[in-house]
């Protein structure tokens, strides 16, 4: 049923982009299609307004419960890790950064990635392949979950509160860099998600894929300093250099927190690496997606 709905909501989008005799071409066309996707999703969300509000409220209360847990921890401990600089408000700025990235990924891609394995299983991907538009673009963005923006707002408020409590006003350059690294983080998360979802071409039915994404990104929810020792160090290396989820939140969060801001050459190297990792992940996910499409056999329908 859900695949049907998404196709119906996507249809007018393509009509608008292709319909005219001299429709726009190139990147502008994608921007326009994207805008129509966003508008259609909003119309759909607003059709079931109470449901929308309940979704917003429940995801916000989930976040607040988590914040409650960390508040409890700081009742007992001065910081997360000895002399790491992650005291309460720096850590809350970290959490806010994670919240901004996660809610963006959730709003733009989560529903779509969830649906991709279903499109593959039912054979409905055929209808997407027929569209005169890039398949990965269409599959990744056709449905936007506006209710996830509730948590985005919570992230902004939390970040502002943390900055006020730390008594720190970031410069314009720092803000711009912060936003830039947020985008890099979103790109890394997206690549991992779409690659996992696309691999359901080979697995047929696999409900655990998005769970897998969730479990991997759990490691990115804390400052990377906590992964220490015999087991922690290899874990930290693997999730930094092989599957670069640890740089997603850590790199931008450090820019705004004075006690942990990048100071050494290796810190800045990590930031540069985050940019490279974002580009490489996007490229890798593109390749995996293309190979997956070639393996797609249009079962059923």
């Amino acid at each position: 049923m859900r695949t049907m709905d998404s196709r119906q909501s996507a249809n007018p989008a393509l009509g608008a982009a292709d319909g005219g005799p001299i429709g726009p071409s190139g990147p502008l066309r994608y921007v326009r299609v994207m805008a129509v996707f966003a508008r259609n999703s909003l119309v759909r969300d607003m059709t079931f307004r109470v449901n929308f509000l309940i979704n917003v409220a429940s995801s916000i209360s989930w976040v607040l419960m988590n914040l409650g847990f960390y508040l409890l921890i700081f009742r007992f401990a001065p910081s997360i890790g000895a002399s790491t600089g992650w005291e309460q408000w720096p850590f809350f700025a970290f959490l806010a950064t994670g919240l901004l990235i996660n809610s963006t990924v959730h709003a733009l891609f989560m529903v779509n990635a969830d649906e991709l394995s279903e499109l593959i299983r039912t054979g409905n991907l055929d209808f997407v392949l027929l569209r005169p538009i890039d398949t990965q673009f269409m599959v990744s963005l056709s449905r936007i979950d506006w209710s996830a923006l509730g948590n985005f707002c919570v992230g902004l408020i939390l970040l502002a509160t943390a900055l006020v409590r730390m008594n720190y006003l970031p410069s314009f350059l720092e803000c711009a860099l912060y936003v830039f690294f947020l985008v890099c983080g979103v790109a890394i998360y997206y690549s991992l998600m779409i690659a996992l979802a696309a691999s359901s071409v080979w697995l047929g039915r696999n409900l655990s894929l998005l769970d897998f994404w969730f479990y991997i990104t759990t490691f990115a929810r804390y400052p990377m300093e906590i992964y220490q020792g015999r087991f922690g160090a290899p874990l930290r290396a693997a999730f930094t250099w092989v599957i670069p989820v640890l740089v997603v939140v850590n790199v931008p969060a450090r820019l705004l927190v004075q006690s942990v801001r990048p100071s050494s050459a290796s810190d800045w190297f990590l930031a540069a690496f985050a940019v490279a990792a974002a580009i490489a992940s996007l490229a890798a996910s593109r390749i995996i997606f293309q190979i997956a499409l070639r393996a797609y056999r249009s079962s059923g329908s």
């Binding site: 309940i54 429940s58 209360s61 989930w62 419960m65 409650g68 847990f69 409890l72 921890i73 009742r75 007992f76 401990a77 001065p78 910081s79 997360i80 890790g81 000895a82 002399s83 790491t84 039915r205 696999n206 409900l207 655990s208 769970d211 897998f212 479990y215 759990t218 490691f219 929810r221 804390y222 300093e225 906590i226 992964y227 220490q228 020792g229 922690g232 874990l235």
Partner: protein, 273 residues
């Protein structure tokens, strides 16, 4: 219900549960991954305490006890969690699938209980491997085996956690007779259960006032209590008193569910099905 009928229900439910074995086993193992981050988070918290020259304990828990606590709540949740029970009942009421219990000589609550026992049995047979592996790897966090009496109470608290979880959630599902859409209500319950059952952290960490209220709720028996018993945090007369209170909650929810079902069926429309 005759024993033969009960056995048939159990057999069918077991077969049904084994359809997607691979997905199931993988899912069980992956559920331990968040524990890994908890281990590191708490290690960081305790190292900060150490550096600040404070005693190495949080709400009476040492680092080892804290990790052991999280592992033990996973065992407790393996007994008490009832995925899809309340929402399944509400869905059956809405879709008219309750009809089949009304025209067949099978009681709905009995059927659901047997069905759930079968699913749990399959779950334990599959999950035993991953659980044994994780506990073997983490044996260093445990202070050793508790005495036989504590062990018996621990086992009893697990079985009672299953019963409490079942009757509590089935009673919640019966609300579906009065309200068509209960998913948001169930979400609120799930949220509270996660926070106040001790699944997220030991409830001793809560500020005194809140902790007093939370100790009056039945939720703590779903995760906190079995783990606290194993770690020797509850002992003496308090132990037996808590077990008695838990038993009273089980009886209360069993009756509440039964009464709600009787009254609900009278209101029930039975469309579709």
């Amino acid at each position: 219900m005759s024993p033969a009928a009960a056995w048939t229900i159990i057999r069918i439910s077991i077969a049904e549960r084994l359809i997607y074995r691979g997905d199931f086993a993988l899912g069980t193992l992956m559920r331990f991954l968040p524990i890994v981050t908890q281990v590191f988070l708490w290690a960081a918290v305790f190292s900060a305490l150490d550096a600040a020259g404070r005693p190495a304990e949080v709400a009476g828990f040492s680092y080892r006890e804290m990790i052991a606590y999280y592992l033990l709540t996973m065992v407790a949740r393996a007994f008490s969690s009832m995925p899809g029970l309340a929402s399944g009942i509400a869905r059956d009421i809405r879709s008219g699938a309750v009809n089949k219990y009304l025209i067949q000589p099978v009681d709905m609550l009995h059927y659901l209980l047997l069905h759930r026992i079968a699913h749990k049995l399959v779950y334990y047979s599959v999950a035993l491997g991953p659980f044994a592996l994780v506990f073997l790897l983490c044996r260093g966090f445990f202070p050793g085996w508790p005495d036989p009496e504590t062990l018996c109470v621990f086992a009893a608290s697990l079985v009672m956690a299953f019963l409490l979880g079942f009757f509590l959630e089935s009673a919640l599902g019966m609300i579906g007779f009065w309200f068509l859409e209960v998913s948001s209500l169930l979400f609120v319950y799930m949220l509270f259960a996660f926070f106040f059952s001790g699944h997220m952290f030991p409830i001793d960490m809560l500020p005194a006032g809140v902790a007093t209220v939370v100790r009056l709720l039945p939720l703590q028996y779903l995760a906190y209590f079995p783990a606290a018993v194993f770690l020797g945090k509850v002992s003496g007369p308090e132990l037996w008193q808590s077990l008695a209170v838990e038993a009273a909650w089980i009886v209360f929810f069993a009756f509440a569910g039964r009464i709600a079902f009787r009254r609900g069926v009278r209101r029930y429309g039975g469309y579709g099905g």
